[in-house]
């Protein structure tokens, strides 16, 4: 039985763990910006970790339930309210048919995940229900949800006890200033040594141009480039390269001024040089950054990146152990 969308919130999209396999055509993996939060929300309602849920940015939607269900809200601190009564985040909540789910204002983070037992059951596109708005794929007609939409819900399987909650030490939220670990590489050699050192020593701030495709940062010193004759095909600006692929998490600095980290809805390639990539373990944090958040980029090597990845896997394992 479906959920009726009364009001839409802000950029509320349906997201699961994404659609790998089409990046070579410019169709990104997509999926939840904060995958840890999505997994936790799903586990708290007895779903597969990769079931489709709602991802709300800053402002939650108003939803009417037409059937009893379990829900959980994780990620950014966006307190849910059932018929006006404030409920706990990161906790299994029982919802009765006819009840209205709204949200209080966002206390921290940027994106909240709203999972429903059974998962959101819109039609998959290229193997995923994730909304990719730029390509009009997935979700509801390839766009954010809108008032009047009816969200189909799958058959519920799990039986998680109401009030099951995830201990605070298993929730991962960005610090302040947030630290994003970066593995230098790609076109790092285009920076002068001084510019490279400055990039890691300065404090940057999240700019207003920050969305599922990428996060822009401001406030640091413009990059100095190693001088060279621009290669044929690249274009004349020293930040230009012969158009190539962009890794997820890669940091480009168009014109040498404002770094952009590409995220889940990344463009698959282009003509701006990239200086390296945020390590996979820290990608979830980026989606929780609000504009103006002070940010430090921390230089790491592959060994540290892989260790951080193992730590994150262990954290997910810990979440599974506590809930199931």
């Amino acid at each position: 039985m479906p959920i009726n969308v009364k009001t839409a919130g802000l950029s509320v999209t349906i997201q699961d763990l994404g659609r790998p396999g089409y990046y070579h055509l410019g169709i990104p993996m997509g999926g939840a910006m904060d995958r840890l939060a999505l997994r936790a929300a799903n586990l708290l309602v007895g779903n597969d970790e990769g079931a489709a849920a709602l991802e709300a940015v800053f402002i939650g939607p108003e939803l009417e339930f037409t059937e009893d269900a379990l829900i959980a809200v994780t990620g950014g601190e966006l307190p849910p309210k059932l018929d006006g009564e404030t409920m706990e985040t990161w906790t299994t909540i029982k919802v009765k048919s006819g009840q209205i789910l709204t949200f209080d204002y966002l206390r921290s983070g940027a994106r909240a995940y709203i999972a429903v037992s059974g998962g959101i059951d819109t039609a998959p596109a290229l193997g995923s229900r994730s909304t990719y708005a730029i390509g009009a794929l997935g979700g509801v007609e390839g766009r954010a949800i809108a008032p009047g939409d009816v969200l189909p819900i799958g058959a519920s399987r799990g039986s998680i006890a109401e009030g099951t909650t995830l201990p605070k030490e298993l929730r991962r939220t960005p610090g302040n200033p947030v630290e994003l670990r970066v593995l230098p590489g790609l076109y790092w050699h285009r920076l002068t040594d001084a510019a490279g050192e400055r990039f890691f020593s300065e404090t940057w701030k999240v700019a207003s141009e920050a969305d599922r495709m990428g996060y822009r940062f401001q406030g640091g010193t413009p990059i100095e480039f190693v001088e060279r004759k621009q290669p044929f095909g690249a274009g004349s600006d020293p930040s230009n390269i012969t158009d190539s692929c962009y890794p997820y998490g890669s940091i480009q600095i168009p014109g040498g001024t404002e770094p952009i980290i590409l995220h889940r809805d990344a463009v698959s390639g282009g003509g701006f040089f990239t200086i390296g990539a945020v390590i996979s373990a820290d990608m979830d944090l980026i989606g929780q950054l609000q504009p103006h958040t002070p940010t430090k980029f921390v230089k790491v090597n592959m060994h540290t990146a892989l260790a951080a990845r193992r730590e994150r896997s262990a954290l997910i394992e810990g979440i599974r152990d506590v809930i199931t």
Partner: protein, 291 residues
Amino acid sequence: MTTRFTFGGDEHIFVEISEEMSLEAFFKSLSITNAVRDTEIKGVTEICPANASFQIKFNPDLIHPDDLLTELKRIEQNADLSDAVLNTRIIEIPVFYQDPWTNETLMRFRERHQDPTVTDLEYSARINGYDTVESFIAAHAGSPWFVSMVGFVSGLPFLYQMVEREKQIQVPKYLSPRTDTPKLTVGYGGCFSCIYSVRGAGGYQMFGITPMPIFDPEQKTSYLKDFMVFFKPGDIVKWKPINREEYDQALAEVDAGTFEPRIREVVFSLDDFNKDIEGTNTKLEEILYAN
């Protein structure tokens, strides 16, 4: 060409065949990515060929980054250009140059441009040594183009001009990318033309617009029923300049489901092309326009 290997975080290996664009670099990249696909290396999840480089995405839980790097270097050593022959197709793409929609957009983002006092076409014509926008458009539409990469956003083709290097058009990208580009804009950056498959961000100079969809997630467009993405690397394109009336007509045909792009099967040999560029292009056009 010196091949450069580098990691992109802990999930990607990026391989630059050459800093410069060339068809030789494209074919070498194609040859290696085909070999990587055939090798079915454990943990490899995405293989993305680009113009003169490529990228492999992998799961480091399944293969250590250093082991994958070793394997890719081995494959690169064995790559050769003997198979630089493609069974491909040539496609005519209508373009309405100097259209009102890209003009409106370029005016909106003028402060991000190298020369805010002129249009993208006027700027591109001037820096490439053309006296008029018209002669510049004639050069853009005068030769075929080779699709050397598909990506950026959904099915967007990067196209490489099939003329002698000294005749190739080069323009810089915008100083800072725009947040908006009309759908189906024909753009230009570095030595590449492109067609923006969907509306969105972009850093290329804007020359015109085509009425012909190249990405259709609903697959309702007559020629996109089998797959939602039109282009693949190796396709060859010939632009056909059209006016407003022809643009509207083509758009109506697209909407009615009756628009059929002109497409012909061709064989492209890099050797033959390098030996006689003009002759090869003439033959390609003859095949395109033969009935």
